[in-house]
């Protein structure tokens, strides 16, 4: 297997255009699992760890730009600005996974259980994708098209995620079958958008893609019920559909207490 290591975004995009079969790898915490379990044998890996444009975060026109290579450990330090994302990051894997795993990788995998997704969805995040003919921006909700499927074209890379800072009335919660290193049985992010006078909720592991429910601030009371109804969970080794619906309702009520009082 070939490993291609570009030193700039331009070089990375050139390689990706020439070798669309090269699988991008950032933290590798999903890619290496696939290789290890023999579920994938890509002819080449495109190692993005040396591309400076993908690293870190910055302010840009009143928005926060999170490089696709932002690790969970780095995101945990953003709790002042993006509390829900920081809280979600804290629940991901163990320290090693949080040091390696990235937000961009979570988007690349697009699992319905991806823990970065609900916070980014309630922020109304936009994803920046770049290809040989320039870049485009897409609302995250449109980027996530199905379970483990996203809108990335085969010659494109995920460059960054843009979010509008929304104040501190936001939270993330997760229920798992044990206290650490778990994929969520259900997860939930909530934030209050004062400008638009609304509450947005997003939930994971309870449908083919992370779901979003929005309500005006004065209709908060119905939210637990509405979130449970919006979910379309299944039974699997981690939990039953019935339990997931119930837990979403409980988590929504608790998140409301945290965000509104």
């Amino acid at each position: 297997m070939e490993v291609l290591t570009p030193r700039s975004l331009g070089e990375a995009l050139r390689i990706k255009a020439e070798r669309p079969d090269a699988v991008p790898i950032q933290g590798g915490t999903d890619v290496m699992v696939e290789l290890n379990f023999d579920r994938a044998r890509p002819p080449a890996l495109l190692n993005l760890n040396e591309v400076p444009e993908l690293r870190g975060w910055s302010h840009e026109n009143g928005m926060l730009r999170l490089g696709s290579g932002l690790t969970y450990t780095e995101a945990m330090a953003l709790s002042e600005r993006l509390r829900a994302l920081a809280e979600a990051s804290r629940t991901v894997g163990g320290p090693q996974i949080r040091n390696r795993g990235t937000i961009g990788g979570n988007l690349g995998t697009a699992s319905p259980a991806g823990d970065a997704l609900p916070p980014l969805l309630v922020y109304g995040a936009e994803v920046e994708l770049a290809g040989p003919n320039g870049s485009r921006r897409l609302p995250l909700q449109e980027f996530l098209v199905g379970p483990k499927r996203n809108a990335l074209a085969e010659d494109e890379l995920i460059v960054a995620v843009y979010v509008r800072p929304l104040g501190s009335r936001q939270t993330f919660m997760k229920v798992g079958p044990r206290n650490a290193m778990v994929i969520a049985v259900v997860s939930l992010a909530m934030c209050v958008d004062e400008e638009r006078n609304e509450i947005r909720v997003s939930f994971g592991s309870a449908g083919p893609v992370a779901g979003v429910v929005t309500a005006p601030l004065d209709e908060a009371d119905d939210l637990p019920q509405r979130v449970a109804e919006a979910a379309s969970p299944i039974d699997d080794v981690r939990g039953t559909a019935r339990y997931r619906r119930h837990a979403l309702q409980v988590l929504t009520s608790r998140a409301l207490v945290r965000c509104l009082t």
Binding site: D38, P177, A180, V182, Y243, H246
Partner: protein, 751 residues
Amino acid sequence: MARLIRTEKEVEGRYTEQWVVVEEDAAIDQWPAGPRETVGRPVPRVDGYERARGQALFTADVALPGMLHAAVLRSPYARARVRRLDLSRAREADWVLGAIGPDDCDALTLEPGFHGEPVAAVAVDSPGRAREALELIDVDWEELEPLLDPEEAVRRNELHEEPRRYERGDADAAFADADVVVEAEYRTQTVLHNPLETHQSVCRWEGDTLEVYISTQFIWGVRDDIAESLDLPPDRIRVICNFMGGGFGAKNGAHAQTFIAIALASQTGRPVRCALSRREENLATGNRNSTIQRLRAGARSDGTLVALEGEFVNAVGWKGWSGPTYGPMEMLYACENVRTLTYGAKLNLPPNAAFRAPGFVEGTFGLECLLDELAGRLELDPLELRARNHADRDLADDRPYSSKNLLECYRRAEPHWARRDAVRARSEGPWRRGVGLASQIWYGGGGPPSYAWVRIGSDGRATVITAMQDIGTGTRTAMAQIAAEELGLPLDRVRVSLGDSSRGPYASISAGSSTTPSMGPAVRAAAADAARQVIEIAAQRYHLEERLLTMQGGKVVSSDGGSWPLEEVTGLLEDAQILGKGARGPNPTGMRVLTFGIQVADVAVDVETGEVRVERIAAIHDVGRVINPLGAQSQVEGGIIQGVGHTLSEERLVDPASGIVLTQSLDAYKLPTIADVPEIVVELLDIPDEHLTNLGSKGLGEPPIVPTAAAIVNAIRDATGADVRSLPVSRDEMLRALREARERERAAAPA
């Protein structure tokens, strides 16, 4: 003089009679109770640095010149018939060096009875390529209908053995007379051993001798298994296991991987490694089988148990044995009238294997939860209820105990139990807190035969030689301590050489909490024999009376004042050596040798999400003399952590239609992580059993896992009023129990 005796041998509750030869070990008196120079003091592992530096050689590290790697073709079905198995493409490929089927190896079959049963195997020069070579094996499968439901198996009489029936007294009459009767059905799930090191063997023919490197709990059992299966003289088999990455009961024999490696080594003339992947490990190497337990208890209003009854269904799987799920019910309490009926269902599921107190972990969960339900009905304190039914004598075998300090354990539990009002008061919001307890009974006396040698060189250093294994519990350290104590040597002047059947005498299995109680007395006897010789030599050299001399602090010391460094005495020998030998004596005849204890758990339950957190467990156990308090504490912590996993998150799941195992990876199978570990308080009574051997020590590997689940579930009841009756306490099960408790309350409330 060698003495031939007939004695009773017990491994994990199974008794057999056997002849053993024991050396007349001139009756060595037990040491007085309490810490000695080395024994009874906390000692870090003698091999700690070796392990931490990665220098300890496990079977996983064995790489022999020219070694090939095996890959195993396993049944993808729970039940199937192989209509055609064609190895010709594999045999023709020049890079595939060995290919075997059921004709070449008895561990392979054309009629697999569970998902993962081995059917064929290949040997190639790398593990990855070996897996690729499996694709060259052509198989024509006929999938058959599997039997998966244990109750259905009982109805169809698909059993491993005749149902086991036990009765003492007259249970029916006693139930009829009881003031209160409680009954309930309990279920425990299938759980997996998951030792760090998977099952693996490396086999090589050296002339007419077979060398077997294996991750095992029983070097000599492996030797005997192979000798019997292959009809080889046992002494032509050399079994080696220097460092071992855990087994928990699943590695007591040679197992399929060894026979596959041997067959491929024979076919190719090369050393062959057969090492299971984690997924194979979690498929085919054994498990603690699930159980269904229908239990009934009858008591007088003062709490005296008058009758106990249990029907147990062990879902054994395709192979294996029906474990003593009934054990705690028959042994724990002084109840005159007991009846049990036990079935071992034969199912198209992976075979079970002994797993850390097999049967007793499951049976204690049912019995000890039922006892708390009874305490609730009687409005009696659960600790008091247990103390009132304390057995002073074993009723199952009608024998006295060799030693039993369970009431002292109960007394030591009181302060932990008394915290419960304070713990409950810390409930807040949806989090309810409570405290629960459960009692523990298990074997752990060990037994003969077991031998050790002690060699002292002219440098005044000692080596303990025995072909035992240290399965990770720290027995290497415990044996060094015992020899050091007896020889009056600092610990760093004693080494332990173990792990090789051709370099030491026969040694015990490391199962049934038996390594320390079986091996320790043999090591002490060998050290005493060596010490006697040192003293005899010193007495002659310095013209002193032997009875005045002892070995202390690295010296030979005379009670009339003189002392000589040991190396001065042994230095006389130049290249000659002092060789002591020792044998494990028999267990006390006519006595029941058992271990006892109690655990007290604090839990917090989120009554809205059903999340359960274990916050603290106090463990008080009576296992005789403690050799190494530090190692013992680790054993208790490990047992409790594993017990927390069994209680809250671990469950092997199979697809109910096909019998396919769904939880093969550690992603799907949830072992506890450090974030799930409660505060653990360990108290060991450390009272030597005066009837048991020259040490008075019992084993501790298993007792700590026995009561954990029941203590946690009883704490959940204390916190919430809900009766959990099924493990694991998933969030679903917790919410179900809470709903049931609410409905019961509603029905009981006056309209």
